[in-house]
Amino acid sequence: MEDDYDQFFENGEENESHNNDSSEESDDDNEAAIDNIDPNFELERPEPACKSAADFAKFLHGSEYPDDIITYLKSLKFFEKDAKTADVVPTKSLKQTVSGFVKYLAGVKRIPKPVLRGISKIFGKYDIFHYIVPELVREVNNLKESRTAAWFNIFNFLSFIPHPTDRVTKPFFRQFCLRTPFNEKDMKKRKLGWICSDFDLIWMAVMNGAISEKLSLKLIPYITEHVISKLKVPFKTADFFFKVFDKSDYHGILSLGAIFRLISEHNFEYPKFYDKVYSLTNPSLLYMSQKESIMTLLDSFLSSTHIPTYIVASFLKRFSRCLIFAPIDAQEPILGLIRNLLIRHPNCIELVHRELPLTLQDDPFDDETTDLHKTRALESSLWEMKLLQCHWNQSVRKRAHFVDKSLHKIESYVRFRCTDELFSVNMAKSFGGEDGEAEKYRKLQDGDEEEEQKAAVEPRKKRGKFGGKFAPKHEEKVIRAVGVNEQKPLGILDRKISNMDVPMLWKL
């Protein structure tokens, strides 16, 4: 389905770009490409009939190909000469088109992303966008939170529009008419300026709008990634982040990510940043489906080596506390993070190793407080690792043993692997020895020798290709014996552990 769309839009794009090319040429050369047409004629010709805004919105919904829209647009007259000032001003039909488009976006129907991408190729051009922005801002300011479809349409549409510093889109009106307000000199001079302010305007409007939780989950990362650094005054976004901060833990983390970016890249001042992060870090965070992004964010928050030791220690304790309840896919990355933190901050080695181990009455670490000064984490130790050394998964067990050895000098990165991946890794492990071996030999005897040789050569090549410096030096070839229970199994419903003081809890 989507592929079809893409294919189709690619075609459309080609066409368009073709058109654009020709128009651009003319733009660049700055010569009247069509000499025989008097530019003024266009402005003066009578305005043909146009669709009303609502009709146009409907038309947009109905139109299958961008070409249809283009052909319709071609039939329109966009600009006319103002009778009084003799300036080139937009016609009524242009206004209708713009408001029709805004209506289209703010409709009830959710527009599929590929379609929007195609449409943004038309309406995302900087000149027509300039007309759309004020209209859209007005719409956004009035848009209610409940209208998810409209919000998503607008967000998707905006996400397809590049910032002028990245790429300036081709002018839109050049396709249809020669004289536009954008041809004026002062317009041209400050082109980047006003395009940027368009961008700022619309994004600020979106951020100030009533955004639903769901959308904000998408919006925050996008803004952090693409928008913040493009804005003229990035601090303005902070309001937005503070607004969504309290919605949920994940929101909090995400907006903290954005704030972190503001702090690190734009000199934003936010005093109790780490306290906030600390209070958000809890085990349930690791049960979310977005744990991967959460973990990368946490990693980036703590990547600095200039964080005070007490903060790092508190985080170390907090992370290990989280691990006690964390699901399997979070275990290894967090364990890796803990180890890296210990390497990064050698002062925290106290948590793992003390020259004079004291005997304490209780774990001094206070899990409840949100004040990082009062956690007393530095007086504690990472006993949690001892528990994780008995984890049911072998690799976690192995990894948790790092507290028993002297620390490495170099940090190492632990890739996040989702449970599905971990599952398939475990399924792919070889097991059982003898039969497999026998099979192999039998095959060796039966099969073509040439084939065998080929097969033998190929993997070596592959290894050479993908290996590189960090590739494992030798392939792990461990024969794992397969155990089988000797005793006869009990019934399916029978308890295998007898808990003497507990009565029958389950029955058929």
């Binding site: 006690i324 399924m427 492990k429 794992r480 397969v482 089988v484 399916i492 808990n499 389950w506 029955k507």
Partner: protein
């Protein structure tokens, strides 16, 4: 010195001085031991040769010879005459007979052993005492006893013939009667004397006895209680007694322990005979109206046996309809043709199976499908046959099902047939499966392993299907049977079994990934988890089945949502299944702890901490689904799995306390499980404690309240006990010291002796080893040389014999030729003469 030298020379005088070899030493070194100055190499070589001849030579000669014939014929080797041989044989025979007669004669010698063991008593030969005894005992019945005649008398009277001295000959000739009367008189006299002596002896003993009793009466008090005391027997005594009495019984060898194949064959044999008997019985029933004789049974049995024999000989199997009657001969033959065709098919799908094996990544469904594809082809062929069977099934309603389970089964070709087979005997499924397995033991026939694999797969599928069906006692029982069968089958091919179960797990996993991402655990899943723990050791470090199952279970535990009580109960069932995984190994399962804690929070209205996993409802009415606010009057019932896993919603009010109760017991189990974690116990269980304390116990039933209180109290005690903590510190590994080059003093230094180093002992041993090694190699070399020589001599001997034989033959031939030539010549001469 001089004396010893003299002696040596005297001894060595016998040796030819030319055979001696002298070691000349060029320099004399003080303090060094001189080796032997003179040696006799030839002599020692000879000695060695002789020694080898005795040991290695004997062995060489015996090589490849298993037994030897000993000629025990008498006098055959010595070249004796026929008469002498006869005499020898006769004596031998006599000796043998004599031995047999005196079987109980202890003093008798055994065979040719020269030093016979003489039994003695107090240094006297036992035979002497015996004789004395004999006279004592036997004189009362002297008259009858013929053995007590004097030897002389016997000799004379009984064996009157033979060689006699001339005197006796004459005497006998004079008066045989008088002689005999004389003899009788003599013996009578002797008897009389004996009798008298005996009487005297008796009198004497009587008087002695009387005296003794008199004496005894006087000293009786100073004696210990006489006579045998009834001893109390303790274990030791009993043991010794049994050892004494039953020693023989224990020592007698039992039946030899059979190898696996033999066992299988035997088992099958047994089943087949039983089957034959069964058939014969049913035949007998059929024939009963024709002949009511009892021996019909036997007859039929023998017939069945004959059939069995035939069956064995002619490879195709006999079919029975479900009453056990045999399908008649004509049909059998028809079937047999088809059977052959099927066999080929089986081979084909065996091949397919192999292909299948190569793929690692496959689902249970894939496995089944592939198999079904194979079977589809078969099915077409076997359709007719099946119809036949079905018709018969229809025509003969099932009667006396449980009685008539055949003993021999054919492996069902596909899952449908497997199911129909099992449905046929709903009460004896385990028996059917057991027999099915036994009939197809891999050692019995080629390809049986594949068949058993197939059976495993079918059992697994059956298991899975049963788990997916509505829960009844029957289905659970069937699952148990399937599990037990799989357990048995797993021994035949572990790899395949593991692959199948992994496929099942993968299938569940995929299901979870696709559609049921947040739905609670199904019964099929829980039973699969249980199956794995039943079949495989769950506490292994890494196990190809258990670890993926762990992933599956924890994933379900984490991801599933619990919007209502039944869902929670399902998850709880899974959790209890999972606890059993770590029961032995005490491994830590964070997901389980998180789940339990979050679930326990549902029982509290004012939550002391947040939910851990995100599967639990946060909003008010649902987030307190385990809070019991009403007084419960009904008795606490265990959770009914049937009601949980059926589609209809169970009554929340009755379910709530039960779920809470099982949750409490789960917490209890976890508490017990992780007590060994000294440092982290508090970290894990403090939150639990807080929640438990916050539970409103007002409306709980008495039992439940008690349970909660016990748990709280025990957990609190444990937490208090484990409060003490010690900071972590790395265990320092001791660095080994650098070796110091300090001087080592030797207090008893003696320049003439070698130094005592610390490695002396080792040096000595290595030197010894080296020497020994060298010696052994030398010996071996000499051995081979000896053997080669021996072989050479053998070859030479045979060569010589052959040459001699050839020479002899050639000589004979030449002689013949010469004679023939001579004759020819004379003939010619004669001819010439005649011509002339």
């Amino acid at each position: 010195m001089g004396i010893t030298k003299k002696k040596n020379t005297q001894k060595q005088k016998k040796i030819n001085p030319f055979e001696l070899k002298f070691n000349k030493s060029k320099h004399d070194i003080l303090g060094r031991k001189k080796g032997a100055q003179v040696g006799a190499p030839t002599a020692s070589r000879k000695r060695a040769h002789e020694q080898r001849e005795k040991t290695l030579g004997v062995e060489y000669e015996r090589k490849n010879k298993i037994s030897k014939i000993i000629d025990k014929r008498l006098g055959e080797k010595d070249g004796k005459t026929e008469e002498e041989k006869g005499a020898l044989r006769f004596t031998e025979e006599r000796v043998k007979n004599y031995k047999r007669a005196s079987k109980f004669n202890l003093t008798d010698d055994f065979g040719d052993i020269e030093e016979e063991d003489v039994l003695t008593h107090k240094g006297k030969a036992l035979s002497d005492i015996e004789k004395y005894d004999k006279s004592m005992v036997s004189d009362s019945d002297d008259d009858e006893d013929p053995g007590n005649l004097g030897s002389h008398m016997v000799k004379v009277a009984h064996f009157g013939g033979g060689e006699k001295s001339t005197e006796e000959f004459v005497k006998e000739k004079i008066s045989r009667e008088s002689m005999i009367s004389n003899l009788i008189a003599k013996t009578k006299l002797i008897r009389h004397e004996k009798q008298q002596a005996k009487d005297e002896l008796e009198l004497l003993t009587d008087s002695l006895d009387a005296k003794y009793t008199q004496l005894l009466g006087k000293v009786k008090n100073s004696f210990r209680p006489a006579g045998r005391q009834p001893l109390e027997k303790d274990d030791y005594d009993k043991l010794t007694y049994t050892l004494k009495v039953e020693a023989d019984a224990r020592a007698t060898p039992a039946d030899r322990k059979l190898s696996e194949e033999e066992m299988a064959a035997k088992e099958r044999e047994r089943l087949e005979t039983l089957e034959a008997a069964r058939i014969s019985k049913s035949n007998a029933l059929l024939n009963a109206h024709m002949s009511a004789d009892a021996d019909v049974d036997v007859d039929a049995g023998s017939k069945a046996d004959a059939r069995k024999l035939k069956l064995k000989n002619s490879r195709f199997e006999v079919r029975f309809d479900d009453d056990g009657a045999m399908v008649d001969e004509g049909k059998v033959e028809k079937l047999s043709v088809r059977k052959v065709a099927q066999d080929e098919d089986v081979d084909e799908d065996d091949g397919d199976f192999e292909d299948e094996d190569e793929e690692e990544e496959e689902d249970l469904d894939d496995l089944m499908e592939e198999e079904n594809e194979d079977e589809d082809e078969e099915e077409q062929e076997s359709d007719e046959e099946e119809e036949e069977v079905q018709e018969k099934e229809k025509s003969k309603p099932k009667k006396s099902l449980s009685k008539d389970v055949p003993f021999v089964f054919e492996m069902p070709k596909n899952y449908q047939k497997f199911c129909t087979l099992l449905e046929k005997y709903p009460k004896d499924m385990e028996v059917v499966l057991e027999r099915l397995v036994k009939c197809h033991h891999p050692s019995l026939k080629e390809g049986n392993k594949k068949r058993l694999n197939k059976l495993f797969l079918m059992c697994l599928r059956w298991f899975d299907d049963m788990a997916k069906e509505e829960l009844t006692e029957q289905s659970v029982k069937e699952m148990d049977v399937a599990q037990a069968t799989m357990h048995v089958l797993l021994k035949f091919d572990i790899q395949y079994g593991v692959r199948c179960v992994r496929a099942l797990i993968r299938q569940h996993w995929k299901n979870r990934q696709d559609k049921e991402k947040s739905s609670p655990a199904s019964f099929a899943l829980i039973s699969a988890v249980r199956l794995v723990s039943g079949l495989f050791p769950v506490s292994d470090n890494w196990h190809p089945v258990v670890v993926p199952t762990f992933f599956l279970a924890t994933e379900v535990l984490c991801a599933a949502k619990c919007p209502n009580l039944t869902a929670l109960a399902k998850q709880l069932a899974l959790a209890t299944a999972l606890v059993e995984y770590v029961g032995e190994s005490k491994r830590y399962v964070p997901e389980l702890i998180a789940f339990t804690r979050s679930a326990l929070l549902l029982a509290v209205s004012e939550k002391p901490n947040k939910f851990l996993t995100n599967g639990f409802p946060i909003s008010k009415p649902f987030s307190e689904m385990l809070c019991i606010n009403k007084k419960i009057t009904t008795k606490l019932e265990p959770i009914s799995l049937k009601s949980i896993f059926s589609s209809c919603q169970a009554d929340d009010d009755t379910l709530r306390p039960a779920v809470l109760r099982s949750l409490i017991s789960l917490v209890q189990q976890l508490r017990v499980l992780y007590t060994s974690h000294q440092e982290t116990y508090n970290i894990v269980f403090q939150p639990f404690l807080r929640i438990l304390e916050a539970i409103n116990k007002e409306h709980l039933t008495k039992e439940l309240r008690e349970e909660v209180e016990i748990l709280t109290a025990s957990m609190k005690a444990e937490c208090d006990a484990k409060k003490r903590l010690i900071h972590l510190s790395l265990v320092k590994t001791e660095k080994s010291m650098l070796k110091m080059l300090e001087p080592r003093f030797e207090w008893d230094f003696d320049p003439e002796r070698p130094h005592h180093g610390p490695k002396d002992e080792k040096k000595k041993l290595t030197k010894n080893l080296k020497n020994e090694m060298r010696g052994a190699i030398k010996e071996l070399r000499k051995d081979t040389a000896f053997l080669a020589r021996k072989q050479l001599t053998n070859v030479k001997v045979t060569d010589r014999a052959r040459v001699a034989a050839t020479k002899r033959v050639m000589g004979g031939l030449m002689q013949q030729q010469g004679e023939w030539n001579k004759e020819k010549r004379t003939n010619e001469v004669e001819k010439k003469k005649a011509k002339k």
